[in-house]
């Protein structure tokens, strides 16, 4: 599980504080929807929760360990439990299948196994088999986004953090993705989603939080509790 406590962050030493004492938690088997206007700090919050960005101040705990105080080997061990999916899909040169397998290959999985797992992840998200051999960067923006999510699913993270995953997807694929995220959550994965599409995302969310004025404020849950 990931816990942020009293996190402050700014990108330059004299820049404005994007986060000011934010608290945030993603627990196993829980889906959290993060909302907030553009520029409110959602991406910063999620990157810090994704163990990619060291906050200027405050504590980041991953499975009870102070992440940024750990040696490199400890950070690598914990980082392998979390995957952050960027809002703008970042794809490497190569085919769709190679892109989906990238995480597994970087973790040292044999190529055959990695490609097989990538095929399964693609299928789970409804990426047609005929596209797997295509150059990933030539796909439409929506499909690129799906490839980035499939790549995250392929490594089977314990915590999955997605920044605007529904943007650019058609309704059918948005629903499919929401169902997949729900399924992951039901199987114990912690899921955090930043989304403006509050319809689908709110349905899968156990909690909704708003990023406002540099802090994180809980909103009423979709169930009203």
């Amino acid at each position: 599980m990931i816990r942020l406590r009293g996190v402050w962050h700014r990108y330059t030493s004299r820049g404005r504080w994007v986060l000011r004492g934010a608290d945030f938690t993603v627990s196993p088997g829980e889906a959290v929807l993060v909302v907030g206007p553009n520029g409110s700090g959602k991406t910063t919050l999620l990157k810090i929760a994704g163990l990619l960005l060291e906050p200027s101040r405050g504590l980041v705990e991953a499975w009870g360990e102070p992440f940024w105080s750990l040696p490199r080997s400890g950070r690598l061990r914990l980082r392998r439990r979390v995957v952050y999916v960027h809002e703008k899909p970042i794809l490497v040169r190569g085919t769709v299948l190679e892109n989906i397998a990238l995480g597994l290959l970087l973790r040292g999985a044999p190529r055959g196994e990695a490609l097989e797992a990538a095929r399964e992840a693609a299928e789970a998200l409804g990426i047609p088999g005929s596209l797997l051999g295509e150059r990933a960067r030539r796909l439409s923006r929506g499909l690129q986004q799906l490839v980035a999510v499939a790549r995250a699913l392929a490594v089977k993270p314990r915590v999955l953090i997605l920044d605007e995953p529904f943007a650019h997807l058609d309704y059918r694929r948005r629903r499919l993705l929401a169902e997949k995220l729900e399924e992951l959550r039901d199987h114990g994965t912690g899921v955090a989603v930043a989304s403006h599409d509050t319809g689908l995302a709110a349905r899968l969310a156990d909690r909704v939080v708003a990023v406002e004025d540099g802090g994180v404020r809980p909103l009423e849950t979709p169930a009203g509790g």
Binding site: V92, G103, R138, A152
Partner: protein, 211 residues
């Protein structure tokens, strides 16, 4: 025709050497600037110097390499090596500035992507460099194009010696001074051909590596 080929080959050889020499120090500098905030000033300075006049670089190098200059003992003045060195200095700002842009984007995007997928920091860096490669090759081709088309350095530290340091640009200058415009235009056509070939090489490199 024989002399035209000889001058063309010499221009190619000198400018290629200059590009590789400049890359050997410019790309590590660009990498440092992209990775360490303290070095980003180097990239800013390089951006400001991209358009430095070739004749100024030639003059400075002439003063350094002349017999009474601090590097006079190397006896490089009026040699092809002096031209290559001068052109390398000339294209350094371009290579640092473009290399910095390419590498900082690659490290930020692909480095972060790799880390988010569970890569070690070393693997993240390797992925970023792999993805930056087409951009770096394009930067080197641009540098070559600038080097092969410059006149000031080649004239001042090369001396335009027939059969030794004459390049396409100095040959053009000579032909114009003699009033031989037809010969100058022929040489110019070869020069433009080389530049177009460089642009085609960039395009081919991009087609090969991207997406």
């Amino acid at each position: 025709m024989g002399e035209l080929l000889e001058v063309t080959l010499r221009s190619l050889y000198i400018s290629l050497s200059a590009t590789l020499l400049a890359a050997s120090w410019s790309l590590p500098l660009a990498y440092l600037a992209a990775r360490r905030p303290g070095f980003s000033l180097v990239a800013r300075a390089a951006e400001a110097l991209v358009g430095v006049p070739t004749v100024l670089v030639g003059l400075l190098l002439y003063m350094l390499l002349s017999r009474r200059g601090p590097l006079g003992f190397l006896e490089l003045l009026y040699t092809p090596a002096a031209i290559a060195l001068g052109e390398a200095v000339l294209v350094t700002p371009l290579l640092v500035a473009v290399g910095y842009r390419v590498l900082s984007t690659a490290v930020a995007e692909y480095g972060e992507l790799a880390l988010s997928l569970g890569a070690s920091e070393g693997q993240a860096l390797r992925l970023a460099l792999r993805e930056a490669l087409p951009g770096l090759v394009a930067a080197m081709v641009m540098a070559f194009s600038r080097a092969v088309g410059e006149l000031g350095v080649a004239l001042m530290v090369g001396g335009n010696i027939r059969g030794y340091t004459r390049t396409l640009t100095t040959a053009i200058a000579l032909e114009v001074s003699k009033g031989e415009f037809e010969a100058a235009v022929s040489l110019g056509a070869v020069l433009v051909g080389l530049m177009l070939a460089s642009a085609a090489a960039v395009y081919a490199a991009r087609r090969l590596w991207e997406p």
